[in-house]
Amino acid sequence: MSRKHRTPPPASRQTPPSAAVSPATRARQALDAGRYRDAIEFFKDLLKSERRPEWVDALAQSYAGRAAELAGKGMFPEALVVWRNRSSLCDKPLVEGGSPYLEWLMRAGEHDAALRLLISADADPSTAADLETRLAAVALTAPDGTLAQLADDRPLRRHRAAALASIAACCRGDRADLDEQLRTIPFRSPYRDLRFILKALLLVGDDPSQAADLMARIAVDGPFEKLAAVVRAALLPGSRWLVPMLALDEEGRQLLLDLKGCPDNRRALMFEVAALARLGTPPTPAKVLDLLLRRGRVLPTSAARLCRRLLPYGAKRLAEYRSAFGQLAVAERECILALAIEQDGGGWIEEHWLRAVDLLSPPDKAPLHAALILRHLYEVIVGDADADDSECIDWLERSLLLDPDDRATHLKLIRIHRQAKDLQAARASLDRALASFANDPAVLLEAVETALAGNAFKKAVTLAKRLLEIDPINSKVRALIGQAHLSHARKQIRAQRADAAGRELDLAEEWLSSPNDRSIATLLRGLSASDAPATALLLVAVAELGGGLLAAFHVLLESSRVGSQGAGALRRAGIELSRAATSREVLAVVQAINALREADERKLQTVLDPLRAPLKRAAGADFSESELISICETLLRRDEITLLQAYAGAGLKRWPERPVFVYLTIFARHGKSARFAMSSREIVALEKAAEQAQADGDQRTVARIRELVQPLPDFAGGGPDDFDDPDVFGGPGEAPFADLHALFEMMISLDNDQALITMARELMPDAEFCPLERAAGGNRKKLARLLIDYLVELDAKVGASRSPREAPTPAPRAPEPLKGKVPVQDDRQKGLFDD
């Protein structure tokens, strides 16, 4: 016992003097209060005067309490010293029923002492068997001499040789010998757990489930627990063994890594990986990359592959990769650099991707890779947006040259060309697709759509029937055939061939299934002539279509399609537009507008001219909030600004707190250039609406408001703070941007081409605007570009007349000369198709 223990107990811990208790009482009080150190001192003092048995027992009790205290703190060697003092000073056996001594010996690692205990037969017979079992693992490593002192018939000694032979067989991987040796260890042997563990250890790699079954038969905390813990960890699937590995001692970890087959030079790395696993969250790419690059020299090719895949997260470490894993192919490096730029969310990715494409395109390289890169590039740059950019379309064309068997790209190209109204290119793409996929329903459907877009109705019907042979229950194709006949009938009516139109309508009715389409067929019969039977059919159709606003819409639309006067047709149909339209009628018209084909978009303005007044009057009708929003969205998409103003205003009146109506009202009032025209009240209203939308989780409205009010970047090179400068929003003629061309280009890139066209229409006289509009041939983007060139040229002329100080920086791109861009209607499909 230490000196500290021998010092008298401190005064503060003693019973107060005023109590005047006897030493025996004081000692008992200390013991009862759990002050074992004091109790030991007091009882030892008492025993010096007289060795009373009850004081001896009390001292033994005090020692036991103190030893338990120390063991509880993990101080097993100290606890053992106190326990031994108890034995020597109080004449108590070291091991008795339920005594913790053996447990502490094992915990303190005093295996030899534990064995000696067994040999000295100090343990009572009831605990001897338990002692043998618990010492089984120790007995295997104890010197032979120590075990020789055990009686021959003790199982610990009798089965020891077989247990050691089993271990040797297991380490050799000799299953037959292992089974042979294990058979000699009986079920009641202290080494019984070892039988299961060694068998499981040999099965770890080959049959983990059987190994797990074996391990399940072993109690946790048995004599071979250290070995069992390793085998249990080794049996965990995937990476789940990593964290338990960290809980093992050094020998256990090394054995586990042996079992996994980890080479010595990679063990430190495995501990790092385990430490990452212990965090419980997936490691960041940068961390993994760092780890792989640091240890690259000892890692296999699979690690190099993972590292390459992660390099886009750290493209600056390409040089480190080279020194760790070796040189990268140039094309691969370009791909990594392109992905790194994509990862950062901006920059010029084309440069790297296209360089990779050039390197991979030769037939002896990897043309399929190159094709996929071109398609990927298209997706990244264009995505789902309209692709008018010929360079982007070229990527898809080029990808098909490298990989002609990709049906999806064929279909995409056909649609792109058709949507861009380049029917010649669409047909060329279609021919290429049909060459590879002659009987593919999707390709045939595109052929039908393309024929329809080119007004080649007979061809469309022929193709659709061919498609129906392959796919007889395709309802879309059946409807398309009906529509093709309807379109052909319209063409015949336009050419004043009523009989031919009638035949087409007869055919159409065979295919049309919806009541609305059949009413349209009747309507066309009514429009095909002006006699009484035709007028009667017109009245039937109008009645079928509800007789109100919707019927008027269809009459006007079909009149426009067949080239007749809408007003006259309305009179013949007896439709009265002066009466108030109901909300249902307005919604039906909006639905019909939404169903319009792209080709009819230009007709919409003419069709709506007579309907604007009744539609505007109906804005105050009883719509639900969602109906009103839906109507506004349709009007916004169709640039029906006057009507939008009426409906958004009605919405704002009924739901003044609804941010979307605030946005739509202000947008309708000022258009996409609202930022230049809004009043301060409107700006405040938009700010409040944005806050409200944010609070409501209406991110779409938040984004739209942001886009509407967001200042444009300063191309003159000023910082972002410059936008607060009111001069930036100077009056007309004071161009705030040095590079007008770039500004307008940016407007187009932000999909603001309509705003640009509207602005130009306001600024330019008709004599200058109309020729450009005709030259664009209905292509909005093309018109926007022609207008840019015009406006830049105009600005340059105005600039020349300003003082040199005021003159803006010259535009970087000269305006395209208008010469040679003679306004010509784009009619390339004429004559190419059969009708």
Binding site: G109, C170, V273, I373
Partner: protein, 96 residues
Amino acid sequence: MIDPYRVLGVDLSADDETIRAAYLAAIRESPPERDRERFESVRAAYETIADPRRRIAHSLFDRSQPTIDDLLAAVSSDFAPRHPTDRRLLRILGAK
């Protein structure tokens, strides 16, 4: 990034047939009613590498984040499990 090749247990150079066979075997082993999570991961893995174009696209453009399993698989692909030495075993058994 859950390596689809590892999920299906096929080699990087495996062809369509091998991959499909591995997929069908994995699905049989883990039908959705038994292990939904495993089933979903097997299906996702198959859809990622079912044909040559998808395999190339995966190798070219996959930027998903690595998991510990990916990292472990990458650094331990050449591990060759071996039997322990009896000295190591006895040291563990005799350790304090």
